[in-house]
Amino acid sequence: MRTLNVIGTAYRATLEEQDDPVIWITRAMQGAGGEFDVLLQGNAVNYVTTGQHVPALAFGARRQSHAPALGDDVEALMSKGSTVYVVAEDLDSRGVHMDEVIPGISRIGRDSVPRVFQSYDRVWRW
């Protein structure tokens, strides 16, 4: 059963969770044997940009280690066989060029999204 996880809401507690919770659960279920791909749209397309850097978080004397590394998490997904799609128009409207994007990302037009959906047994919009 192939499942496509669609992520449009970005940075949902990424600092508290040290990751995106949907990318995380996708990797966890991938580890349990599931076949998952991911489609990023809206602000979530920023997850595939290179050069992301999250500065260390500190409140008072409490310094937080292990900031989220969303690009690394996306690459880890792909290294286990997942396809990661991004909606081209959402990249373009944010001024993100393909030379600023992690290699191996599948860029698709918004009008191709329904066709991509049809190629999966399950589509879950998170």
């Binding site: 059963m1 499942t3 809401t9 949902r12 507690a13 919770p21 949907v22 659960i25 966890a28 279920m29 580890g31 349990a32 044997g33 599931g34 399950r122 879950w124 919009r125 998170w126």
Partner: protein
Amino acid sequence: MSKRTTLTFALMDAPFESARTTTAMRMIDVATRRGYDVNIFAYEGAVGLSFAHQKRHANAVHGRDADQEDHPLTREWVVALLEQAAQTGGRLDWVNCGLCCDERGALDHVPGVRRGSPADFWRMASSSDNTLVIATR
């Protein structure tokens, strides 16, 4: 004999913050009334839905004491749904994401709810007729 319908829901919203929670409960209610097998995976803030220490409160703005206010508690809804599923011959398997419980200190839950992981969600979805994700926005 036809196979019983099995549905899985992934919930993500914390209680008392979004109408999506009530909508999800309405769908679970219909499914359990029909005797379906229903799986719930409560992820992130949704683990609070079954938290055992939810308490009623009075509401001075409404001018009612705690008994009069009869404030809704999602833990009671969860119990009611578990009981309904048992009465209609269906099954309601409510699984909380264990790590999500730990990070929130939400360790005490109503009876009938169990602790699990994303692997449970994957297994439940794999054996279901359909799965609906109701995520936080």
